[in-house]
């Protein structure tokens, strides 16, 4: 019998960073900015949170740690770091109209290097035996779930066993979906990504919308990095551990056809596929395990094929995605 009660919480834990990443990227892409720097942004978000909490944890005695500060310091550091990345991206692509793909790829390289550099430095500072930093006290605060969750059996484990960032992620995704579908600003944002010249003529400030959507999107994505370190990895930072989750988050944006609401389920599905191999008895045959690890990518390819077969204008990317807008251009 397949063990759903232990499978689902792990799938969700895998899915949350993807959820935050893809929600942030969806918001960004709706403004017409294709931010391929997302993996870098998530890295920077994670390492900034780690730096903040490292400073706090090493300078405070364990018993005098304040729960509120232990959460808000890394949170603010993470948001600030990813905001700076967003501003950098916007400055380059919106103000200077640099090529979005090149800028994004450069920022991913930069972000990963930035994370590994500071991660490595912190590891040096701790003089530890293993190449990682453990911030278990901070992680304890991030992971804290409702005290009675454990008493509720399978219900508690499936729905209530997560740290607060997981619920924040769902709330953000839902509010993004509402924002895009039902609000005036959301409509304006969609128009900016579809046809900036028209939006401009209708009196919408295209530059401001692009900056705002991209920066907020980056901050949301940065939270995904923070969740990964503080919750999923139990506060253990080691270089390159985040892996290719940033790229998966970008793939998810296409997979969900730019719908943050769908993203909630899609990211949990991806998370599940990511770890499915652990739950399927494959015996000693490691090759079969590796095949199962391919599942998320196979599903992405399958979905892309299905979506492109079913041609619908609603499922297409924002028309002006990846292009800079310049009013005087003919």
């Amino acid at each position: 019998m397949f063990d759903f009660v232990s499978f689902i919480p792990r799938a969700v834990a895998q899915g949350v960073p993807l959820m935050l990443g893809s929600t942030g990227e969806t918001l960004t892409q709706k403004s017409g900015n294709l931010n391929l720097g997302l993996p870098g942004v998530m890295y920077v978000g994670a390492i900034c949170g780690v730096i903040g909490s490292f400073m706090y944890e090493t300078n405070t005695a364990a018993e005098s740690m304040n729960g509120f500060l232990a959460v808000s310091i890394p949170l603010i550091c993470c948001l600030a770091g990813s905001l700076l990345m967003g501003l950098l991206y916007c400055f380059l692509t919106v103000t200077l109209r640099a090529n979005q793909n090149v800028t994004g790829l450069a920022m991913t390289t930069f972000g990963v290097g930035f994370g590994n550099f500071f991660g490595g430095s912190l590891i040096k500072l701790t003089d530890s035996e293993v190449p990682s930093i453990a911030l278990s006290a901070t992680s304890g605060y991030f992971k804290a779930s409702l005290p009675f969750a454990g008493d509720l059996g399978w219900f508690g484990r499936i729905f209530l066993s997560y740290g607060m960032l997981a619920y924040v992620a769902v709330a953000i995704a839902l509010s993004c979906a509402f924002f895009l579908r039902r609000t005036r600003a959301g409509l304006n944002l969609r128009a900016v990504g579809e046809d900036p010249a028209t939006a401009d003529a209708a009196g919408i400030d295209v530059t401001r919308y692009k900056y705002k959507a991209t920066c907020i999107g980056c901050m949301i994505a940065g939270l995904g990095g923070l969740y990964y370190v503080m919750d999923y990895a139990s506060g253990v930072w080691s270089n390159d551990a985040f892996g290719d989750r940033g790229w998966l988050a970008i793939a998810l944006v296409i997979f969900t056809m730019w719908r943050p609401g769908v993203g909630i389920f899609a990211s949990i599905l991806f998370g599940g596929l990511y770890i499915l191999y652990l739950f399927i008895p494959t015996g000693m045959d490691l090759a079969v395990k590796e095949l199962y690890k391919m599942l998320p990518y196979l599903v992405t390819i399958a979905v892309l094929i299905i979506v492109s077969l079913r041609k619908s204008r609603e499922n297409e990317p924002p028309r002006h995605l990846g292009l800079a807008y310049f009013r005087e251009e003919r």
Binding site: N188, T198, A199
Partner: protein
């Protein structure tokens, strides 16, 4: 002007772009409850003048009064606040949004959108003036005239009392234009001030109450429409007496050149674009193709040029010397163009097909001849000479041969494209929208070019938008309706109304005969 209330008064308006003075001390009054037609050649400054009213440009000098108060209009938003709305030639609509969403785009208001209230207000406006709009329809599902309706409702929704329409009928069928005119009249009767910019004199006579004429940035005069006529208006526009006729010599010794039989074409999505289309094009004649945009004109030309796969039927090319028939379907586009079939297609954005915007004139000429060079290196001398010849003969206004084509104005781009196609001495010339967006003088240059080809014995297939021109230029007119041949009628003696009916309905207009 007894009893009329001025909605807008423009005084001594001057605007220059670099060394070019687009408007020079122009005076213009716009009255409530009146339709004003603003006339002038392309480049006479009509659109510039109206753009200053709608906040796109800012005047260098001069004053604008709205309802008697002096105002400063710095942005489209300022113009909206003053009740001025402009409907541009190129629609500003987002395709994937619905009509209602497009209408409220960018408007201030409560953060949360109540689409139902918006839709109700849109219906209310539509009902008042007799529009047919479904607020929940997506723009990409709409016809050109529906899109235009959305643009007008968008302006009214913002509370505009002064409406400016820039060449509103350029893309409409005659029947759709009539509907638009009815709506404009009912808005005029509602007390709104309406300005239409147009080239078409018969529309001015039919619709407007007053005409104002600009010539090279100067205000020439205005008068009630009832007291003038087409001849006088044209003379005022051009500044000298002109004849408004396109030449149409009788075809000389027409021989069948291209026989199209039961041609059936589907687009990439499998939608039937041409359904059993048959006709014959003769040498030394101009065959016009009329139809609502998207009725299969593009596919027809592309199928003949070998760029689009034909599903069924045949296209026979009859050689000019021997008269030997040869099947074109299945042939490589290069072989077809080597046989003497030239395609000059001017798409909506003018560049898209045929010319590369970032390359200069020589390089664009080479696109046709790059295979001819001997050996590994390309031959640049020939194309350079050709470019010089085209510039000289067609009077292309360009700083130099090395200028990227993108920087030339629309008319000059089209001259380069048509000039290059003609230079290959074709036996069949396919041209689509050759005069798209050109002013009267440039258009006539192109008509002359086409007529010269006709006299050389070329079979010309001319796809056009302007029915008036098709009726004057073409020897025969093939009317397409939703991919099928609605009729093939002689150009001499055809009426616009009949062609218009045939465009909208298969075999329509027959009762007129």
């Amino acid at each position: 002007m007894d009893g009329k209330v001025a909605a807008v008064q423009m005084r001594d308006i001057t605007k220059s772009f670099g060394p070019v003075v687009a408007n020079d001390k122009v005076w213009l009054d716009i009255y409530k409850g009146e339709i004003l037609a603003l006339l002038g050649e392309n480049g006479s400054g009509k659109t510039t003048l109206m753009n200053m009213l709608s906040g796109i440009y800012f005047p260098d000098e001069g004053k604008i009064y709205v309802d008697g108060r002096e105002v400063v209009i710095r942005s489209p938003k300022d113009a909206f606040d003053l009740g001025i709305g402009m409907i541009h030639q190129h629609f500003k609509l987002v395709d994937v949004l619905t009509a209602a969403e497009n209408i409220v785009l960018g408007l201030p208001g409560r953060g949360r959108l109540d689409m139902r209230a918006v839709a109700a207000k849109v219906r209310e406006i539509s009902g008042r003036y007799g529009f047919e709009v479904d607020p929940m329809q997506k723009v990409y599902d709409m016809s050109v005239s529906q899109k235009q309706t959305v643009e007008i409702v968008k302006v009214l929704y913002r509370g505009a009392d002064i409406l400016i329409l820039d060449e509103p009928t350029a893309v409409l069928t005659p029947q759709e234009a009539d509907k638009l005119f009815a709506v404009l009249r009912s808005m005029r009767d509602d007390g709104k001030a309406i300005v239409i910019i147009t080239h078409k004199l018969h529309e001015v006579e039919e619709l407007s109450d007053r005409v104002a004429i600009l010539r090279r940035g100067h205000f020439v005069g205005d008068m009630p429409t009832a007291k003038t006529n087409a001849m006088e208006m044209t003379n005022m526009m051009v500044g000298r007496p002109v004849t408004l006729n396109i030449e149409r010599p009788q075809p000389k010794d027409p021989q069948p050149r291209l026989e199209v039989k039961d041609l059936t074409v589907r687009d990439e999505d499998g939608v039937l674009k041409l359904d059993k289309v048959s006709f014959t094009a003769y040498s030394g004649e101009i065959l016009g193709v009329a139809g609502i945009s998207g009725s299969g004109q593009k596919e027809l030309l592309e199928a003949i040029a070998g760029l689009h796969r034909a599903e069924g039927g045949s296209i026979l090319y009859l050689d000019a010397q021997s008269g030997e028939p040869e099947e074109l379907i299945g042939k490589d586009p290069r072989d077809i163009s080597d046989m003497g079939v030239a395609l000059s297609f001017v798409p909506e954005d003018r560049l898209g097909m045929g010319l590369v915007g970032d390359m200069d004139l020589t390089d664009n000429m080479m696109l046709r001849s790059f295979r001819r060079g001997k050996g590994f290196f390309t031959d640049r001398k020939g194309p350079h000479k050709l470019a010089e010849r085209v510039v000289e003969e067609l009077d292309v206004n360009t700083p130099s041969i090395e200028t990227p084509v993108r920087r030339l104005s629309g008319g000059n781009v089209q001259k380069v494209l048509v000039g290059r196609e003609i230079s290959s001495a074709p036996t069949v010339l396919l041209t689509a929208y050759a005069v798209r967006g050109l002013d009267i003088n440039s258009s006539y240059t192109i008509y002359d070019l086409i007529n010269k080809q006709k006299e050389r014995g070329v079979a010309v297939i001319y796809v056009g938008e302007d029915l008036d021109v098709l009726l004057e230029l073409c020897d025969r007119i093939l009317v397409l309706c939703a991919g099928r041949v609605s009729g093939l009628i002689p150009g001499r003696g055809a009426t616009k109304r009949r062609v218009g009916l045939m465009m909208t309905k298969l075999g329509g207009g027959a009762e007129d005969e």
